[in-house]
Amino acid sequence: MKYILMMNTMKAGHGVPEWPQKDLRAHIGFMMAVNKELHERGELVSAEGLSFPDQAKLVRAGKDGRPVTDGIFPESKEFLAGFWIIDVDSPERAYEVAAMVSAAPGSGGAPLNMAIEVRPIMTGPPPDML
């Protein structure tokens, strides 16, 4: 079963965490260790970090079908900072990975306990239909 784990962070300060260097190092090291562990367990399909909201654009097609960009991101409080796609044996395992990621260390090394949105990835047709 494949799941996407979406990590939403607060947009305040453009998403750039203003922590002491030691805490930033710990946070980055933690994320790298998570990816390494998921890879070694044979569960990692992909993991991507996304740019900060400064780089985000909202695009719609104009009347002529050409892209019209809305400039800066809309006024939501949270933004998607990154995601993992994992292939695991049970939903419980997906939640376990989400909890691990959620507890990434933040300022002062305290766990952030971020909200991680977990959603199943859709598959093809089920085995039988009567």
Binding site: E43, D87, T123, G124, P126, M129
Partner: protein, 414 residues
């Protein structure tokens, strides 16, 4: 003299893979390293044979290459430990290997199958390892089949082998009592490979390795190795009788077609008659099990020329048996469908109520979807629409979701 490489050679490599692995693993008493070495030998064959032709003794060639890898590995290991004296002994092992090639043990493949479907492994690990060690697929092929990067699949396989190594399972057949206890796990892994072939994700359907066919091939080989077991035959029959409907199951664009609306002219008659023949022989053996019963139900469907000719009373009786042999919420659900076909939708809806309190199925899309179908049959369109939509919100299959929202739209006249 060498033979030209053609399409049959790939098949030959897959057939030889478990034999070669069995031989090397038995010789070196190290399943995990042998498996790696054989994989390398197979990759070497895939690289070299198309250009240089297939060697006269392909099995001997593969064993030789795999053993060379084993000794290279052993040498570097030994060098690392600075125990040069042992090198001579290891080299002797290889020198005599081609001699034993002639008297290979047919049980080797069976040992491998029990090894790969080890109870300590998670289903996904057992599946990956079985496809590689017994099926002779490359890691890249398995990765593609499951839409997982090759490196991730390699890790999954390597961890599975570590688990087996840690369990201390020796490379030999389990005792007859153990074998009986472990066979259900083996059959379950084969069944999962088959059903995985049926749930292939939409976008990549075309590139996907045909897992259903691979599962049939592996089960066929298993039946040759365990010819007298009625459940092995039952599983093969179930796969064939289900696979027979494959061409009729979807329209282009992956739109699902329910069994009653399928074009039965597209069903594979050859697979159906083989399945029925296997099943008839298996049922004659006496001990009826889970796979034989499911195969029997599939056979009743396959034998009906038109959907309205389906012998539902017989299907209902088979589900009643299945409820006794292998009870579970999915069986109860399917039993309710059969009961509705025989005694009317009200009877089916009544039986579904028992599932509302079952934590495994209460929030499952299948319960809502079956309820919607039955409500539609009673003429309660409003409730049917509601349940089609509940089911659509809960399913994780795109074709199923499309099917369910379309049913709801059809009833609301949109």
């Amino acid at each position: 003299m060498t033979k030209q490489w053609d399409a049959t050679c790939e098949h030959l490599l897959r057939e030889l893979a478990p034999q070669v692995l069995g031989s090397v693993a038995r010789r070196f008493r190290d399943f995990s390293s042998a498996e790696d070495s054989v994989q390398e030998a197979l990759l070497a064959a895939f690289r070299q044979w198309p250009q240089e032709g297939v060697p006269e003794n392909p099995r001997g060639w593969l064993i030789q290459v795999a053993c060379r890898r084993m000794t290279d590995q052993a040498r570097s290991e030994i060098a690392r430990r600075e125990r040069e004296t042992a090198v001579a002994a290891e080299t002797e092992n290889v020198a005599s290997l081609l001699e034993i090639e002639a008297d290979m043990d047919p049980d080797d493949t069976l040992i491998l199958l029990f090894m790969c479907c080890h109870p300590a492994l998670s289903p996904s690990s057992a599946i990956a390892l079985t496809l590689r060690a017994v099926g002779g697929l490359t890691t890249a092929e398995i990765g593609t089949a499951f839409l997982v990067p090759e490196a991730t699949m390699a890790q999954r396989i390597s961890r599975a082998k570590q688990t087996i190594k840690a369990s201390g399972t020796p490379f030999r057949l389990p005792s007859p009592q153990d074998r009986a206890g472990r066979l259900p796990t083996v059959l379950h892994v084969l069944y999962l490979i088959f059903s995985e072939g049926y749930t292939s994700s939409v976008g990549s359907h075309l590139q996907r390795f045909d897992l259903a066919r691979e599962a049939i091939r592996l089960t066929r080989n298993t039946k040759t190795l365990i010819p007298d077991n009625a459940e092995v035959a039952g599983l093969l029959a179930l796969m064939l009788l289900t696979d027979a409907r494959r061409a009729a199951r979807t329209r282009p664009g992956e739109e699902l077609i329910s069994l009653d609306k399928q074009d039965r002219g597209l069903w594979d008659r050859v697979e159906i008659s083989e399945g029925i023949e296997l099943l008839t022989a298996a049922l004659a053996k006496g001990a009826v099990g889970l796979y034989q019963l499911q195969a029997a139900i599939a056979a009743v469907h396959d034998e009906a020329k038109r959907a309205e000719d389906t012998d539902w009373p017989q299907i209902l009786a088979l589900y009643e048996l299945l409820k006794r042999v292998s009870p579970g919420p999915m069986v109860t659900l399917n039993h309710a469908i059969a009961a509705a076909m025989v005694h009317g939708p009200a009877e089916g809806l009544l039986l579904l109520r028992a599932l509302d309190t079952d934590p495994r199925l209460a929030t499952h899309y299948r319960l809502a979807s079956v309820r919607a179908h039955l409500l539609e049959q009673t003429g309660d369109y409003e409730a049917a629409i509601k349940h089609y939509r509940i089911a659509a919100a809960r399913t994780t299959s795109i074709p199923e979701r499309n099917y369910l929202i379309t049913q709801a739209a059809r009833l609301s006249g949109e």
